[in-house]
């Protein structure tokens, strides 16, 4: 068979025109969810691939195909770099048609992305970052802070330490937005209850793995509590080294942000007795266990912590809202979608019933845990004993103290 130039041209034109025709043939537009987190660095296990697994689990549990929705989940590694994250987000919104941005740990990154989402009028559901500024000074009507924040951690873990007699503190702080915010929130709490801060060391993040110098300085400060304002692998290393230098004999260690994944990395013989706060634990009740059983086969070496559970819960609620208002409508305006999300009742296996406040704060319960002794642990990942529960409406900073600018103006 001979191919004439005309047939060739004709075929090429038809092929080029095909993508233009296809979208119209489909009934509903595709909703795109972009998971942006640390896929390779210190926060990979606390978020990373398991966050994606949990987001996809929400698609499965919601039954997107049965409800006539087309949903796609894509992801990228922001490497904890704000500039990189901003350019990925822009590309996602401008070129790839992403509608909802999910997870985004590392507060410096989370804060940087906030204005991009607002400018493009998309939806931003943050589970991984901690800074309470996200619903305070840097709040946005396109944004919901899903899982936890620095204020809630300071109040729950810090409050328990102060109550147990820890009235003088020394902070070991990661030198970026998150560490500083956590230190500020905890300092406020300690001072409000009559305690004092004996000093602090701010270390370069990322890239510090030896904390011995700071630990020795903390020890010589004479403070009763060592407050760790860091996360992930940094927390693991500082606790390990604090034990090595015998700090745990003279001071109480307060790991202000610590996940079940970190306890797994440390081992129970080093971490036993520590207090920490999460808003989700896999062994809390039948529903959390059922959820964990569903995702476990897909992430067998890294069980879900609260950030992962938050990605599931946020995605599920987003899908419910989209189904309720229609995909085409939801794609049009991020602000409208978020406003609708705040009005709809939130309920899922991970957090039970919660409400989303108008500044974008999802009011989850704060659970204070104590890490079990090796002898108390009955099976894999059996690490926590529940000590106290702070209900969602008391756990977070009161609305008025956040000074969120759009409250009352809408």
């Amino acid at each position: 068979m001979t191919i004439s130039r005309r047939t060739l041209l004709g075929t090429a034109t038809a092929a080029a025109a095909l993508p233009l025709v296809r979208p119209r043939a489909q009934s509903a537009p595709t909703i795109k969810i972009g998971v942006l987190n640390d896929m390779s660095g210190p926060y990979m296990n606390t978020g990373g691939p398991t966050s994606i697994v949990c987001a996809k689990q929400a698609l499965e549990d919601f039954g997107v195909s049965g409800k006539g929705l087309n949903v796609e989940v894509i992801n990228a590694d922001h490497q904890n770099k704000p500039d990189l994250a901003v350019s990925i987000a822009r590309q996602w919104f401008d070129r790839d048609g992403v509608d909802m941005l999910l997870d985004v740990p590392t507060s410096s990154v989370a804060l940087a992305v906030q204005s991009v989402v607002r400018e493009k009028n998309k939806v931003y559901l943050n589970s991984g970052a901690a800074s309470s500024d996200l619903t305070g000074k840097a709040c946005s009507p396109n944004f919901i802070h899903w899982t936890y924040d620095t204020y809630m951690l300071a109040r729950s873990t810090g409050g328990a330490m102060v109550k147990a007699g820890g009235d003088s503190w020394y902070f070991l702080t990661a030198d970026y937005a998150f560490g500083k915010q956590l230190q500020a929130d905890t300092t406020a709490l300690v001072q409000a209850s009559g305690g004092k801060v004996a000093g602090y060391s701010t270390y370069p993040f990322p890239g510090t793995s030896d904390f011995s110098s700071f630990l020795v300085q903390a020890q010589s400060s004479g403070a009763k509590v060592l407050g760790l304002c860091n996360a992930g692998a940094d927390t693991v290393n500082s606790i390990k080294q604090a034990r090595e230098f015998g700090i745990n004999q003279t001071m109480k260690v307060a790991a202000l942000l610590m996940f079940v994944t970190d306890v797994h990395a440390l081992g129970l013989d080093v971490s036993q007795g520590l207090n920490l706060t999460e808003s989700f634990y896999w062994d809390l009740n039948d529903r959390t266990r059922a959820f964990t059983d569903r995702v476990k086969p897909k992430t067998p070496n890294n069980w879900p912590n609260m950030v992962h559970a938050g990605c599931y819960s946020a995605t599920l609620h987003y899908l419910k809202t989209v189904a309720d208002m229609g995909a085409a409508e939801a794609k049009k305006s991020g602000i409208a979608t978020v406003a609708r999300m705040k009005k709809m009742p939130v309920e899922d296996d991970c957090f039970g019933k919660t409400t989303i406040r108008e500044d974008g704060r999802n009011l989850t319960n704060a659970y204070l845990f104590e890490v079990k002794k090796p002898s108390e642990s009955k099976g894999p990942w059996d690490y926590f004993k529940l000590v106290a529960t702070t209900p969602g409406d008391e756990a977070y900073r009161p609305l008025g103290e956040g000074h969120c600018e759009f409250i009352g103006k809408a």
């Binding site: 990979m44 793995s209 020795v216 010589s220 290393n237 797994h264």
Partner: protein
């Protein structure tokens, strides 16, 4: 209380000692790099990844084979050293006739591949490795509480560094090594198998990194990125000490550990950059490094 520059004396002495401990790691790692660069003219960017593999090897030996810390101080470097030999024979040796830059790119790529593989299987939070019972606990040395394990690290590092230096500078084997790098065809004419000497040197340098990795395992969590935190500093150490100088890298390693330790007292935020500041100053005044020979 004794005050030095407004800092309590005991605190300052404590930091000096801690600096020395970190310096021990810098010295061991930069020594391996210096040996490899001096003998093979390869800038081994995979050194951090091999250090990490050493730590993982000791963790795996314990986890899967029940082999404890002290045997793995010898076994792990042997395994990783053998891995290094395979790398050198199959991949790196093909680049000797090319510019340095190609070796640098190749080893950098190897490092990324190795780290990626480990990250894929073990995640990034790290795995626990216990300090051996006999080295548990700490001793009060007057001005601070010194963990026994850290004291052991300094001691072990010093012994290994000096032994390596002695082998290269003072034994017939070392003389052959040095001769082979100076004039390979001539040494080959004397009946020495030069490619094998080079392969073994690379294996030795890698084993040194793995040894440091085993020492580091109980201090840091065993995680795929652990080499990253060291490798940049260690390259700076090699440059400051003078590329390829054995004694230079040992002395500079310990000295920079101390400088870094002091920075952590006076201005902690700069502790990650101070080494590079020193590097800039040294390169501006002594382009061949503190101990380097003029070309």
């Amino acid at each position: 209380m004794l005050m030095i520059f407004g800092i309590p004396g005991p605190l300052l002495f404590g930091q000096l000692l801690l600096g020395l401990i970190n310096g021990a790691f810098y010295a061991m790692l930069s020594l391996g790099l210096a040996v490899i660069f001096g003998m093979l003219n390869i800038i081994n960017f995979a050194h951090g990844a091999l250090f990490m593999m050493g730590a993982f090897a000791s963790w795996m030996l314990l986890q899967y084979a029940g082999i404890g810390y002290f045997p793995s101080l010898i076994v792990a470097p042997l395994i990783i050293g053998a891995f290094g030999v395979v790398l050198e024979r199959t991949i790196i040796s093909r680049l000797y006739h090319l510019d340095h830059l190609y070796g640098l790119l190749l080893t950098f790529g190897l490092a990324l591949v190795i780290q990626g593989l480990f990250r894929n299987y073990y995640g990034s939070s790290g795995l626990p490795y216990r300090i051996p019972d006999i080295l548990q606990g700490a001793t009060n040395v007057g001005f601070m509480y010194l963990p026994n394990y850290r004291a052991w690290v300094v001691l072990a590092a010093l012994v290994v560094c000096l032994a390596t230096w002695a082998i290269i500078e003072k034994t017939p084997l070392g003389a052959t090594l040095r001769a082979a790098t100076e004039n390979a065809p001539l040494v080959q004419a004397f009946g020495v198998n030069v490619p094998r000497v080079i392969t073994l040197t690379y294996g030795g340098g890698v084993a040194l990194a793995a040894f440091a990795g085993v020492l580091a395992a109980p201090i840091y969590s065993v995680n795929p990125n652990m080499g990253d935190n060291f490798i940049n500093t260690v390259f700076a150490v090699v440059v400051i000490g003078g590329m390829g100088s054995i004694m230079g890298s040992i002395v500079t390693g310990f000295a920079l550990g101390v400088i870094e330790g002091l920075t952590k007292v006076f201005y902690p935020q700069a502790s990650a950059t101070v080494v590079f500041l020193v590097m800039v100053i040294v390169l501006l005044t002594l382009p061949h490094g503190l101990f380097g020979r003029r070309a």
